[in-house]
């Protein structure tokens, strides 16, 4: 009996004219999104390759360990094909040097704003905007449409339990909509393989999870449509209602919650923080220079003989002292900065929690958050890269400083002015290639599948809960539904 009912639902969907249209559109869109995603990934991978080799070249061209700097570059990840997330919004690389903290800059969109004008289409976008709409369009009249055509009366003049009918309805519509989208999904996986995207086991597992997540989101919208149609008598009402709910869930709630959080938890701009840091640094250096000036001045108050004697005696000590004091100031500034940034990060985290907490009222944004979390293109992405780059920065700086100390070459420009020999200017470069064999290399941050999955558990749970809620709502609505 159940299978008869399911079969009927399935047939009903597949034979309807809207099915052909939507199926064609979905297939084209999914394949198009994956294809352009792959092309885009290839382009950024090429860019990454040439940039890394340039960075290596730059290091090789260095002739001095002193104040050596390099750049760390964010490596594109194949998952961005499916979930571009923040990939294009976040900077591609950062300077790595002792004087400046890590800061990702040059986001792909800021480099080529033309793409920012309309943004990219990815798999998640298609599911979130197009398939959710289609799911609702196929189910908004699932119950009341049958009532309007008198079919419910005819069906329930037979001894069919309502629950069974509803289960069949949901399963049938689900199968009827899932089967057709599974074809382009499989084709796009084939495309990924054929076009040689370097996917490892973690990527495949993540992709499988992503597909499962997308199907869950799709199921939610199917059950939402069924629930709405089980609570309304007329399909024109349920159509309007489901469209309004769709607009709210997909378009409004996510954006409105970020806007609300922006107002409720104000976060200072990074430029303000940077200026505060700069003010502190200026202040510290000023004190430092004042003290050191005073120290040198002590010699100038003496007569020539004394001062020469004092200089010979204390010069080396003073230089060593000054150097260590300089280090202390540097460390202090850096610690101050870390504290400032940590505070900023805390505030931002508070803002994010609030914004995303609100936005999760909408299963559509829960889906987006989970998908980007899975793919690693979520809001944590920037922190993750900056953190790993900071680690690299400290090991890089330590290494070069150690090397510099070993080589004894101070780098920079040495100007000696003497009354005997006049001015003598040397720059520290000794023009011989440096031994770069042990130099630390930047390691891209790694995430295990478990980490990726764990970040999505809440949203997965929310989606599943919302879907269940809709099922229950459909059942309650339909069990008391007036079939006349």
């Amino acid at each position: 009996m159940l299978s008869t009912l399911i079969q009927k639902e399935l047939k009903g969907i597949i034979l309807s004219p809207k099915f052909t249209a939507t199926f064609a559109i979905c297939s084209i869109l999914i394949l198009l999104s994956v294809f352009t995603g792959i092309r885009e990934y290839e382009a950024v991978s090429d860019q990454y390759d040439s940039a890394t080799s340039l960075v290596e070249q730059e290091l090789q061209d260095e002739s001095n360990w002193g104040h050596m700097s390099t750049r760390s570059i964010r490596k594109p990840d194949p998952m961005q094909i499916f979930v571009s997330g923040l990939t294009y919004d976040i900077g591609r690389w950062s300077h790595v040097e002792s004087t400046r903290p890590i800061k990702l800059k040059h986001s792909p969109y800021s480099d080529d704003p033309i793409f920012a004008m309309f943004r990219h289409i990815d798999f998640v976008f298609i599911f979130q905007f197009v398939l959710s709409l289609f799911a609702i369009l196929f189910t908004f009249d699932a119950i009341n449409g049958e009532r309007e055509s008198g079919m419910l009366k005819l069906v329930f003049s037979n001894s069919i339990p309502r629950a069974k009918y509803l289960i069949a309805k949901i399963i049938g519509s689900w199968l009827g909509l899932i089967l057709p989208i599974s074809i382009p999904i499989l084709l796009s996986i084939l495309l990924v393989i054929i076009m040689g995207v370097p996917m490892n086991a973690i990527h495949w597992a993540t992709l499988a999870t992503l597909i499962a997540l997308s199907v869950l989101m799709f199921t939610f919208f199917i059950s939402l449509g069924v629930a709405i149609s089980a609570w309304t008598k007329r399909s024109s009402v349920s159509f309007l209602l489901s469209l309004v709910i769709w607009v709210m869930f997909v378009l409004i709630i996510p954006r409105a919650s970020v806007a609300a959080a922006e107002q409720m938890v104000p976060v200072p701009r990074i430029s303000e923080i940077e200026s505060i840091r700069e003010a502190y640094a200026n202040d510290r250096w000023k004190t430092f220079y004042d003290i050191s000036e005073e120290r040198w001045m002590t010699s100038s108050n003496m007569n020539e003989e004394e001062s020469e004697e004092e200089r010979d005696r204390a010069m080396w000590d003073n230089m060593v002292l000054e150097d260590s004091l300089r280090r202390i100031v540097e460390i202090e500034i850096e610690e101050y900065e870390v504290r400032l940034l940590e505070e900023l990060r805390q505030r931002k985290a508070g803002q994010e929690r609030l914004a995303f907490g609100f936005s999760r009222i909408s299963p559509s944004s829960a889906y987006q958050l989970a998908a980007s979390g899975l793919a690693g293109t979520d809001i944590e992405m920037k922190d993750r890269f900056e953190e790993s780059m900071s680690q690299f920065r400290s090991s890089f700086v330590d290494f070069t400083e150690k090397k510099q100390a070993e080589s004894g070459n101070t780098g920079g420009i040495m100007i000696s002015i003497s009354t005997e020999t006049g001015i003598d200017i040397k720059d520290g470069s000794d023009n011989s290639a440096l031994d770069l064999t042990d130099i630390p290399k930047y390691e891209q941050p790694r995430r295990s599948y478990a980490q990726a999955f764990n970040s999505t558990i809440i949203d997965f749970g929310l989606l599943a809960f919302a879907t269940l809620l809709m099922f229950v709502a459909s059942f309650i609505g339909f069990l008391r539904y007036d079939v006349r």
């Binding site: 809207k18 198009l32 352009t36 860019q47 940039a51 340039l54 730059e58 061209d61 919004d89 976040i90 800059k105 986001s107 969109y109 800021s110 480099d111 080529d112 704003p113 033309i114 793409f115 004008m117 309309f118 289409i121 197009v130 024109s236 309007l240 469209l243 607009v247 378009l251 409004i252 996510p254 954006r255 409105a256 919650s257 970020v258 806007a259 922006e262 107002q263 976060v267 701009r269 990074i270 430029s271 303000e272 200026s275 505060i276 003010a279 200026n282 000023k286 914004a355 936005s359 809001i379 992405m381 920037k382 420009i413 002015i417 009354t419 006049g422 001015i423 200017i425 720059d427 470069s429």
Partner: protein
């Protein structure tokens, strides 16, 4: 006769549940977008003022202008940009005035505060683009085919009513009813701006007026388009399906797909590529300077008691002149390759946009972002503004210190005889950002507004013609 049809149409629409619901949603969303925009602007303004103040404060206490290591300017928030964000959040909004000879704008809002990049902004343009168009379709898809299904079409044409009068009345009536309600919503939304203390100049009001006008035109495109499709199909369910597919294509797919295809067709050298070229030139120039430096031999009398001081200042001058030469070479080179990239980008941009203009959604977006000053033009405009200011700052520093601010090396010998005076950061000329001029903005938006009007006209005519052949049975 026409009047009767128009009146009936208006009454019919205004009394329908569908209208009540969609109108309520539209009003709420439009009001929300104005409110959010105003609040966002105010917050941004605060943050901007705080950043500028902090930037000046960090210079306090310094005794020499050349020891100012950081002077940054930021893109000031614009009220219209809060309503039509365009690409303003995607491009660099900060420029360091002392970092080097080249002004680089960096720090895009989305990069700095990725929270906004996740779902992006609820701005007016977004409401126009997605919600208005969707609702236009919703209100128009069964205008003709629905009447046929209900049988009222046959009844109407049982009288001696010319078809043309009927369809004209329908078009005018529905547009009048819907656009007047939208105008009310937009008007109410505008009230938020003065109420929340957003400073708007007369020019900005004019721009906003034209933005709202483009929004209405865009709404008109989808409304006339819906009537057109409705007058071509026999059943309202098929006209809805057709329109929905068209909507998805027009709003979501065509703009993105055409930009992606066209952009790939034109090769634009990547930023990395340019940076590479610049850095290799810079290191080459630096190497040359270094050679010159090591050969620096001042012609000075050793017995001169002032020798030290003289050598110092001569070396400073020498370095200064080296710096200037390097600078000139660098900026000439940068200008050239940036120009090349800019030209390539222009070609790419024109090609993509022209292709994307198949969709009225593109035209609306381009028109409104041009009017709000947040189109692609903003990248160049902000860069030009910061460059002009960069020169002002350079002149100021040179005047204050007598040194080239980008010479890269400063030697200062203090004999301790005088207590250095702290600098006064307020002396620094402030960055007066001038947004894109209204006339320029309107001119840039005109072709797209024209295109929207053309779409209206085409669909209008299409609706009239196909209704002339419509099977009213």
């Amino acid at each position: 006769m026409l009047k009767i049809i128009i009146e009936r149409e208006i009454k019919d629409i205004v009394s329908s549940t569908k209208f009540a619901v969609t109108f309520a949603v539209c009003v709420i969303l439009i009001l929300a977008s104005f409110y959010v925009g105003a609040a966002h602007y105010n917050l941004n303004k605060q943050q901007y003022d705080a950043s500028v103040a902090e930037n000046l404060r960090q210079m306090e206490g310094l005794t020499e202008w050349y020891s100012v290591r950081q002077h940054k300017v930021f893109m000031p928030p614009q009220p219209l940009a809060a309503l039509v964000t365009g690409i303003s959040n995607d491009i660099g909004q900060t420029a360091d005035m002392l970092a080097g000879s080249q002004v680089i704008t960096e720090g895009s809002r989305y990069n700095e505060d990725p929270i906004f990049a996740v779902f992006r902004f609820l701005d007016l343009e977004f409401i126009f683009q997605i919600v208005l168009s969707l609702f236009a379709i919703l209100l128009g898809y069964d205008a003709i085919s629905g009447e046929k299904e209900r049988g009222t079409l046959r009844l109407t044409f049982a009288s001696n009513l010319p078809r043309r009068t009927y369809i004209l009345g329908k078009l005018i009536g529905s547009f009048a009813a819907l656009s007047s309600s939208l105008i009310v919503a937009l008007g109410l939304g505008c009230l938020f701006l003065p109420m929340m203390g957003v400073p708007m100049s007369g020019d900005e009001w004019i721009r906003l007026l034209i933005i709202a006008g483009s929004g209405l035109l865009y709404f008109g495109v989808f409304l006339t388009g819906s009537l057109f499709v409705s007058a071509m199909t026999q059943r309202s369910s098929s006209s809805f399906l057709l329109l929905l597919v068209a909507w998805i294509l027009a709003v979501m797919i065509i703009p993105r797909a055409s930009v992606l295809t066209a952009a790939r067709a034109v090769e634009v050298p990547s930023v990395d590529h340019i940076a590479n070229q610049r850095s290799s030139l810079a290191s080459q120039l630096w190497a040359e300077s270094r050679d010159a430096m090591t050969n620096f031999k001042p012609d000075i009398d050793d017995d001169d008691p002032e020798a030290m001081m003289k050598i110092g200042s001569m070396f400073s001058q020498f370095m200064d002149s080296l710096g200037t030469i390097r600078n000139d070479q660098m900026s000439e080179f940068s200008d050239r390759i940036n120009e090349e990239r800019f030209n390539a980008q222009q070609i790419q941009q024109n090609l993509s946009f022209n292709l994307a203009r198949i969709s009225p959604s593109t035209s609306m977006k381009l028109a409104t972002s041009n009017l709000a000053g947040t189109s692609l033009e903003l990248t160049k405009h902000f860069r030009d503004e910061t460059r002009a200011y960069h020169k002002v700052v350079g002149d100021f520093i040179r005047e204050k210190t007598g040194m080239n601010p980008h010479g890269g090396m400063i030697i200062k010998i203090n004999d301790g005889s005088e207590e250095p005076e702290p600098i006064d950061p307020s002396e620094l000329p402030s960055f007066e950002y001038k947004p894109i001029r209204t006339a320029t903005a309107i001119n840039a938006a005109l072709p797209d507004i024209g295109l929207l009007a053309l779409f209206n006209f085409l669909f209008f005519t299409g609706a009239v013609i196909s209704f002339g052949r419509y099977d009213v049975r």
